[in-house]
């Protein structure tokens, strides 16, 4: 099996090198696209489990949630569009595994009208079934309300004023779990999973004005921006992209979609690095490169 795996990966390198050679020769970027497609699909067929090490930001978030007393109330947001499901849904899954395992009461909501409520409903119900959680007692889905600034500010005064009913139309006063939850002061932690700048509003409105600890899961492109917030203590940990989700899954001992995606991501990254290095070698050894001219 190991020999086959080694052979498979040598073949991978040769195919990548060939496609790269054709890209240089014909100046057709579609060979690059073909290589990327191949490196994404191949690990789905020939799986390889990779060791995942944990970064300090993910550990910080995990420790913060782990330190919550069991049966704490946590708000989990589904602030992402369907386009980024591959990166963000594994974070939501992992977060729910962690929260349900600790018997936390979970309030889900979203500031994204396009698909947010149905994603929240689908993901939460699926995991609730696994942990035998009951809607209305262990978790509730508030759904979507327009005007996110007003929503975030309004929940600081009264959640029921902003969400008189949950996503399915049941009055909040009739939901047992929401009986003693009036506003942010009754919520112990806010776990924001987002693919847009709503994270800035959660920090500047909720963390800054109501002092709720906020942990986030964001796409890889957004992650570099939020290191400043972690450093200043405004954000309690962060999951950055699919790697962050994979690290969180590993800490929970529940490897899932994010772990599976790591092999594809690794191969594509290595291919891009290889192609950049090869391109630079050719550039530097060419006449234009030696003359220091722009290509």
């Amino acid at each position: 099996m190991t020999i086959l795996l080694v052979f498979a990966y040598i073949l991978l390198i040769l195919i990548g090198a060939f496609l790269l050679y054709m890209a240089f020769k014909t100046d057709d970027r579609r060979y690059i696209y073909a290589a990327v497609a191949f490196y994404v699909i191949f690990p789905v067929i020939v799986t390889l489990k990779l060791p995942i090490t944990t970064s300090p930001e993910v550990k910080q978030l995990y420790d913060a949630v782990e330190a919550l007393p069991d049966s704490s109330t946590v708000m989990l947001t589904f602030d992402y569009y369907p386009s980024t499901l591959a990166e963000t849904e594994p974070m939501s899954h992992a977060a729910l595994h962690h929260l349900f395992r600790k018997d936390c009461k979970v309030i889900t909501m979203t500031t994204i009208p396009l698909g947010g409520p149905s994603i929240a409903e689908r993901v939460t119900r699926k995991l609730a079934e696994e942990y035998n959680k009951v809607y209305g007692i262990d978790f509730v889905n508030l759904g979507y309300k327009a005007n996110y600034v007003a929503v975030l500010k309004g929940m600081g005064t009264s959640i029921e004023t902003i969400y008189p009913t949950d996503n399915s139309g049941t009055r909040l006063s009739e939901i047992p779990m929401m009986e003693n939850i009036e506003n942010y002061s009754d919520i112990d932690f806010i776990f924001v999973v987002a693919d847009n700048s709503i994270v800035d509003y959660w920090i500047s409105i909720v963390n800054a004005q109501y002092n709720n600890p906020v942990g986030t899961g964001v796409t890889a492109v957004m992650a570099p921006r939020y290191f400043a917030y972690i450093s200043s203590g405004q954000m309690t940990g962060m999951l950055g992209g699919m790697k962050g989700a994979a690290e969180y899954e590993t800490l929970l001992n529940k490897p899932a979609a994010a772990n599976m995606g790591m092999t594809s991501q690794s191969l594509v990254h290595l291919f891009i690095i290889f192609s950049v290095i090869a391109g630079n070698i050719i550039f530097l050894t060419s006449k234009k490169g030696r003359d220091g001219k722009r290509t």
Binding site: S83, T84, L114, N196, S197, S204, A208, V221, P224, R225
Partner: protein, 295 residues
């Protein structure tokens, strides 16, 4: 007239109102020691002081500019190239594509993009170059149409104006991107100008434009998207260069004065940061840090 830019009375009326109203009303409290019941949020006094200082600096420089003081502004390559880029499109008989970002009209980046659109529309009207402005939101459509129409009227080319120059294409991010990409591949615009707020679609737009052979000028204040524009576009305006574009292109003294005032505020922030570093290192910073506590 009080509200014209010429007299400048309005800015000072504004400052006087701020300086008088706030402290007066801060004394109108139910109980002078009970801040929870006060009308004025005394804990936000630091934000008020910063705002007043900022306004004063901007207004002083605006006054100086109006009085004829010569104000230096450094070269911004991307903006210098706009007219040449439109000229290129005219020579090739190809259209100019202008995308004012993917956010609503109430976002300051979109307003900056629409301001630049006005300038670009004047150039395209002058050279009779076809212009296309796809937008994502109806309010941006209304503002864009107004701005472009006004530009054509001012150039004496009212007959050349067509309402469909600015068109609503789709409300969803990737539907918008797919439509614009399709236009780029079919019409092969000679010049693409992206000015405003962009997100995940930035690279999709820029790479497609590159494949179509267009010269591309981009500007955004989204830090996460700057690397993609820098890699794929010929010129990129970063962060506040986008907001400075209107002043830079018009060279109006009042706008340039505002820009200088903003730069001096940055100098002040740098001094405050350096002072903070010294005080924190000397461990005598508690009083200093408490001044900047966010509320």
């Amino acid at each position: 007239m009080a509200f014209s830019t010429g007299s400048g009375r309005l800015p000072f009326i504004f400052l006087i109102l701020i300086i008088l109203i706030m402290p007066v009303l801060s004394f109108a409290q139910a109980d002078s020691g009970d801040t929870a019941n006060s009308y004025f949020r005394i804990e936000r006094i630091n934000a008020l002081v910063a705002m007043i200082l900022f306004s004063v600096v901007i207004l002083i420089y605006t006054r100086w500019a109006k009085a004829g003081k010569d104000l230096f502004i450094r070269k911004i390559n991307g903006l210098d190239e706009v007219e040449e880029a439109v000229g290129r499109a005219t020579e090739m008989g190809k259209p100019v594509l202008f995308v004012p970002g993917l956010q609503e009209i109430d976002e300051i980046e979109t307003i900056a993009g629409i301001s630049i659109l006005g300038r670009v529309a004047r150039i395209t009207a002058r050279y009779e170059t076809p212009l296309l402005v796809p937008v994502r939101y109806p309010m941006v459509l209304a503002a864009g149409q107004e701005v472009v129409q006004q530009a054509y009227i001012e150039e004496g080319k009212a007959d050349s104006y067509n309402k469909d120059i600015v068109r609503y294409v789709a409300g969803e991010q990737f539907a918008f991107t797919a439509t614009v990409n399709g236009f780029m591949m079919r019409e092969r615009p000679a010049t693409n100008i992206y000015m405003g707020a962009f997100f995940a679609e930035s690279l999709l737009l820029a790479e497609t434009g590159n494949a179509a052979g267009s010269i591309q000028i981009a500007g955004t204040a989204q830090p996460a998207q700057l690397p993609f524009f820098i890699a794929a576009c010929d010129y990129t305006l970063m962060g506040e260069e986008l907001y400075a574009a209107s002043a830079y292109l018009s060279r109006e003294p009042l706008l340039l004065g505002g820009l200088k005032g903003q730069d001096w505020m940055k100098v002040l922030i740098i001094i405050l940061i350096l002072l903070g570093i010294i005080l924190v290192s000397a461990e005598v910073s508690d009083w200093y840090l408490s001044m900047f506590e966010s509320v």
